[in-house]
Amino acid sequence: MILVHNMSLSELLKDLQADINAAIKLEKKLKDEKFINEIKTVLKSAKIGFIDAAGGALHRLHETQPTIETVKELIQGFPDALSFKDEHNRVPVQSAIWSNTATKYLPILAKEGIKHEVGGRGMRGGLLVEDPKKP
């Protein structure tokens, strides 16, 4: 575990990719349903973890200040992150309203949000969703 903690993200992902490849090869040969199910559970939770991490990143745009292109790339990689709610129950497009350093991301979050129906159909990518904590 210490080794894993010391690895960079790309090293960790490469390592994981090797594990995944091994599991794929074994899926048909091993005939151990419990093994396959446990791997599936781990990967499902990893998938959710990715979305949560990307969602968290979208809520922290006021701190990290990436370019609009980078935000677009992040959304394209993890579109479900647009609906990730923070501790205030807000989606990223709502969080971006609260800081003058994040408002510039509103249009991209809304435009991409429309494609993925954030807040539901016709909610303009979450722009029309009522803030859970109005001032």
Partner: protein
Amino acid sequence: MLTQLGTASDPIPYDTASLEVLKELRKDNLLLKEDIKEHDLLYWSCNPQSNMRFEYLTEWDPDYLMTGTNYYLPLSHALIQHCAPRFFTMYFQTALRHYPQHLGFLFQKDTSGKTAYERAVEKHGKQETFKIIQQCIPTNTSLPILHHVIKDAPQYMNDFSHRYPSAICLRDDNGRSFIQAQLAGGAKTLVNDGIFFLRLSDDEIAEADPVTKQYPFLTAASGESGDLLTTYFLLSKNPSLLERYKEEATQQALEEQEARTAKKRKIGDGDNEEGE
């Protein structure tokens, strides 16, 4: 919320950033004109910390300053009722710029007939209300404020007249003097305000109203409460006005007759050309 939020201590950075976003959202059709009404955007943005956004939205839909409502009240009333005086000051300044002819809706009535001015006096007191009004309309204004008062809220004339004494010399958009505006109001008669008529100068008695083109004696005669005593008094001050009126009326009738004849002739010539 994008139209409303801000930082009270240093409002400009947030206001600027949010304004840019509003512009971009509008360009991408993510902010629509109907949103101003649907989401009460003028009400929420009418706040010193979102001044630029409020200006931007009012430029886009200035009509909403007049037609807007919030909590069943006209926008002007809602801001007085629910917000601090500085919010209404902001609204009033903007409304005066867009609608000087309606005096920034100072006398806009709610469904019960109460004017915004009355609500402001009730809510903030007369002194505070006039502080707001005088902040937006200086004493030496060129706005015919007293004309508006006499037309929309004559019962408050005393409150306004001593604060805007020079406005009595102004003419309104129609070219009416203050005296003419009072006469056009139709409420004055020799019996209920004899001093008013006694003080009229010869020039004022002989000056036709720029809107109705009528002399004061005719205005007095033709109002809803046409008053013969007042008409007689005004005519007695200058009997020649009746003769002048007759001449002008005859001349006008002749001109109208000539215009009708010329029009018929033109139509006749057109028919002949078609026949040929």
